[in-house]
């Protein structure tokens, strides 16, 4: 049985959406300048706003380009707008609006991107999301890994002044953290220490990494897990520390390996420390539909090579590579 660090206690599956909703209610209670920008797919805390502050729900309809700039205009007037949209629309359709009207002036707009893994098919499964956002200056990117972190990260986002993209995955991970887990923007959390290799994962792939640990332990491998829930700015210190310790890093994300977490980690390693690296993510291709029945049956995870077994194999390859290249480790 794997030994996890403080604040980690694996529980039952619980949706990210519910954690984000709880976070929104706390933020709405704390700040009276929160405004919801709707794109005809509702929002978080909508019922609370309908009851307590109906004028602070602004419905833009299916017009994401307009909605993003409406958010910017409200931010210019001292409000903190939260836009919720499908990621392909809220950042894909409105990419230039996000860049020109929100990020250039560092407006305090929170963008909640709803990911649709599985049933909805290629249009709604945005493999390029993180890669397309990481290149944009002034933007903080958060991808919570469980319901507890979803809430904590949401509240931290509410306290932070500046634009944030908050990724809400549709895959349902188990509860990973205890209620007193401390989340901080820009700080990775080491879920488990390990001597042989380190998996650096984000979002849903954190729970997949936790499952991979069981497989690896049976092979006698002691592998660590780092939860990289802030994708920008990356916690470089945590990456360097792990690389120095194990010399074998596997990154795990359910988006394109181009431009995402893996490339971010690769850049940090290349400039700072010699280590073996294997990136797990979606190869340079679009996704498609698949019936996803929880973690027990997810054909997309199998197709894209993202399962716990794939991760365990990647860790083994990474260790072999490290030893072959005689890369240092503590």
């Amino acid at each position: 049985m794997a030994k996890f660090n403080k604040y980690v206690e694996i529980g039952e599956p619980a949706p990210i959406f519910a954690g984000a909703e709880a976070g929104m209610l706390k933020v709405a209670d704390k700040y009276n300048n929160v405004i919801l920008i709707h794109e005809d797919i509702g929002s978080l805390g909508t019922d609370w706003f309908k009851k307590n502050a109906p004028s602070r729900i602004v419905e833009c309809g299916i017009a994401e380009a307009n909605a993003s700039v409406i958010a910017a205009g409200f931010a210019a007037e001292g409000y903190t707008p939260y836009i919720l949209g499908f990621t392909f629309a809220v950042i894909g359709r409105a990419y230039n609006q996000l860049r020109q009207s929100i990020l250039v002036d560092h407006f305090n707009v929170k963008i909640l991107g709803r990911e649709m893994w599985g049933e909805m098919g290629v249009s709604h499964n945005v493999v390029e999301g993180i890669g397309s956002l990481r290149v944009l200056p002034n933007l903080v990117i958060i991808c919570p890994s469980d319901i507890v972190e979803a809430e904590k990260a949401f509240v931290a986002m509410g306290d932070y002044v500046g634009p944030v993209f908050y990724r809400m995955e549709s895959q349902v991970p188990p509860r990973i953290f205890t209620d007193d887990y401390p989340f901080e923007i820009g700080k990775a959390y080491t879920i488990k220490d390990g001597e042989d290799a380190t998996i650096i994962a984000t979002g849903y792939m954190v729970s997949e990494s936790i499952k991979a640990i069981d497989i690896l332990e049976k092979k006698g491998l002691d592998v660590g897990i780092i939860n990289m829930s802030t994708l920008k700015p990356l916690d470089e210190e945590a990456i360097i520390k792990a690389a120095k310790k194990t010399g074998a890093i596997v990154t795990a994300e359910n988006g394109s390996i181009i431009g995402g977490l893996g490339e971010g980690v690769a850049a940090v390693l290349a400039e700072n420390v010699s280590a073996s690296l294997v990136r797990i993510g979606i190869d340079d291709e679009f996704s498609q539909s698949a019936r996803v029945i929880g973690a027990s049956k997810d054909d997309l995870m199998i197709h894209h090579g993202l399962t716990d077994h794939d991760l365990a194999e990647a860790v083994k390859r990474c260790i072999i590579k490290r030893d072959k290249l005689k890369l240092p480790r503590k």
């Binding site: 017009a63 307009n66 700039v69 910017a72 205009g73 210019a76 007037e77 409000y79 609006q97 020109q100």
Partner: protein
């Protein structure tokens, strides 16, 4: 209601000063969006010297009128005004395009005091302006103005409150090809943003040629009307018509309709060389010829 000849004379004097400053900007940069800048000079002059409620000493004053220059490539027209109303020293005119300058290539809220919107990617400003207008309504609803109402004031007040501020937006005609302009127009109609005044600089030319050939806009008035707007068409180079239209739009506050003033203008207006070739960006020989001609006319 018409305005006094004295006011128009005063604005005409300011207009000469604005044109003079635009030439100074171009002399320093040797390049610029002269066509769309010159078509806007009368409108900008009327706004800044007669209409806008501003406090140059306090750029963040919450009750200042907002001006969103959606066609941010015509920033030179506003840069030419800013020193004259006290936002920046006059030497700033020579800094256009310089690294670190207050006068960037496109209007930039971050760099320039008195600029409300960072543009350059067309089609977005009207959305920004609409949000500012709706924010005024929401803020007023949350914190209604505390008015000291005496019996004598009652008839006037019963007409309606003035908004805490109004939001002015300037869009280009070519820019109206962008779908987002119409998303914003629909939005403003829905939320009855009668504190929003959009001015279309209808100079009839975009980069590739005449607007009516590139992407026909007519009937532009009917398009805005269909989205629930009040529309007024004017000669955008006639100061009297401009101030009359702006004042009329102001007086109609309370009717629940966003206002659109379609200003028929000429690209490069005021510099015959530029008017004839419908120039968008002048550089090299085209710029020098226009400057030479302009200096003869405006000193």
């Amino acid at each position: 209601m018409s305005h006094s000849p004295e006011l128009i004379k005063e604005l005409e004097d300011k207009l000469l000063l604005v044109r003079h400053n635009i030439l100074r900007i171009f002399e320093a940069s040797h390049q610029g969006h002269c066509g769309g800048t010159m078509s806007l000079t009368e409108i900008v002059t009327a706004l800044y010297f007669h209409h806008l409620k501003l406090d140059p000493g306090n750029c963040d004053w919450s009750e200042r009128d907002r001006l969103v220059l959606s066609k941010a490539h015509a920033a030179e027209s506003i840069y030419a005004v800013l020193p004259e109303v006290g936002y920046v020293p006059r030497e700033t005119l020579d800094e256009y395009y310089l690294f670190g300058s207050r006068f960037q290539g496109h209007a930039d809220r971050w760099c320039t005091p008195g600029i409300d919107y960072s543009g350059g990617s067309l089609g977005q400003g009207l959305s920004f302006a609409a949000a500012m207008a709706l924010a005024e309504k929401i803020s007023t609803e949350v914190n209604p103005p505390q008015l000291n109402v005496s019996a004598m004031d009652m008839p006037r007040l019963s007409m309606k409150y003035n908004p805490a501020y109004r939001v002015f937006c300037i869009v280009g005609d070519g820019e109206c090809d962008e779908g987002q302009i119409w998303e914003a127009a629909m939005f403003a109609g829905k939320y009855k943003l009668d504190n929003l005044i959009n001015i279309v600089d209808y100079n009839k030319f975009s980069i590739d040629g005449p607007v009516e050939q590139i992407m026909p806009l007519a009937p532009l008035d009917e398009k805005f009307k269909a989205f629930g707007w009040w529309v007024k068409e004017i000669d955008g180079h006639n100061l009297l018509e401009i101030v009359d239209a702006l004042d009329l739009a102001n007086r109609l506050y309370g009717d629940g309709k966003p206002k659109c003033i379609i200003a028929h203008t000429t690209k490069g207006h005021g510099i015959p060389t530029w008017e004839n070739v419908h120039i968008h960006v002048a550089r090299g020989q085209a710029m020098e010829a226009g400057l030479k001609e302009g200096r003869k006319i405006y000193g």
